[in-house]
Symmetry: C2
Subunit: 229 residues, 2 copies
């Protein structure tokens, strides 16, 4: 109660299974007394491309554009574009970040990757030697909640898709852990499009159920062993 949650949501269709998962999270967390904010990326027509437009006013070095350097400098002088500043404010205020999306090509959809690329700039999310456990977003939690196309049997060590944890490494460790954010167990709904209506209902109920005790969960140990043991 009183906790702040930011859900970064990447699906085009409110009636989709991802849309249902989002709805459940908003309802359940609100019922708990949390304050929930949703960044509905497709609805916002969120810009995924990292370009010069992200910097308001003059460039630090207009001879050769370096996105990392320019956004770092712009952050320090308050010169990032408005859409980025707004997302950073949401992140700053949040105790928990939930990412809700369909897995596309063993990864998040481009629109969500663009959110990571553009919002989590140096100076805001990390800095020189302020990375991983020393990252600037310490004290926050994150949770990757996604659906897959393939079934669970595909995503095992022996399956052709490999252990599902392999695809979590770049997202959980490479992004969230890098910024100092603790990571809760991912929430994975396998192949909702290929199961029965009853099974889909069970999956939605399981998500709702999990959220009821979410604040009691311990973060995972985000080390290579968790992913590749």
């Amino acid at each position: 109660p009183g906790k702040k949650v930011l859900i970064v949501y990447a699906h085009q269709e409110p009636k989709s299974f991802n849309g249902s998962l989002l709805k459940i999270a908003v309802e359940e967390l609100t019922k708990q007394g949390c304050s929930v904010t949703v960044s509905d990326l497709y609805a916002m027509q969120f810009e995924p491309r990292a370009t010069r437009n992200d910097i308001v006013g003059h460039l630090h070095n207009s001879e050769a554009f370096n996105y990392g350097v320019e956004t770092w400098e712009a952050y320090k002088r308050g010169g990032l574009s408005k859409d980025l500043v707004e997302e950073q404010k949401k992140v700053q205020e949040a105790d928990l970040l939930i990412f809700q999306f369909p897995l596309f090509w063993f990864n998040m959809p481009a629109i969500l990757k663009g959110w990571m690329d553009r919002v989590l700039v140096q100076g805001f999310a990390y800095d020189l030697s302020k990375v991983y456990d020393g990252g600037l977003l310490q004290g926050k939690l994150s949770l990757f909640s996604f659906t897959t196309g393939g079934g669970q049997e595909m995503y095992s060590k022996e399956g052709i898709g490999g252990d599902i944890r392999y695809v979590l490494w770049p997202m959980q460790h490479g992004i969230m852990h890098f910024c100092g954010v603790k990571v809760l167990e991912p929430h994975i709904c396998y192949a909702p499009e290929n199961v029965s209506e009853e099974k889909r209902k069970e999956m939605l109920a399981a998500w709702s159920q999990r959220l009821k005790t979410l604040w009691k969960e311990e973060p995972i140990d985000c080390s290579p062993e968790w992913y590749f043991k």
Copy 2:
């Protein structure tokens, strides 16, 4: 000689190190008699978002938008948007796909991820049970060429970034192998921004040198062992 190469390039600045790597590839491969095409994603202002705009005309199911289903159906009836059709034509004609980009957050930049999400649709790149070695883009080669921010020592099994091969799994196995494309050894330039000018020149020369004998290379064995052994 006579081979066709598509380079999908994702950097904003021609004067960047990535820009130099691109230039070298175009020059060296052209000198060999290859026909080289470049998709310069930022210059093209390539759209990374997977939306309804990718389908020309009516939807298969306008009640609930499903990107995978809609692009599959649109592909079959020739109803994909023009920018996608053009990229697919380039892929279809290519013997080798080179992806040139800076690693962003343990992954490719969103604009390049968007290229994967939107161009490699079902029916074109894979189909029902036509995946991995049976994928529809069989007979082609691919090569991921990228720069990193962190140094090589960071990306080792014992380093905080983990083995660099961990981040290659979703890209090489999850995308290219999934579509039936063979994968050549990646080409990685570590931290070009943090090394001496001399070292940078060495890295450029090494890329040029590798390209001279590229067509004699054997693809990697794109199995879990290569990544996680």
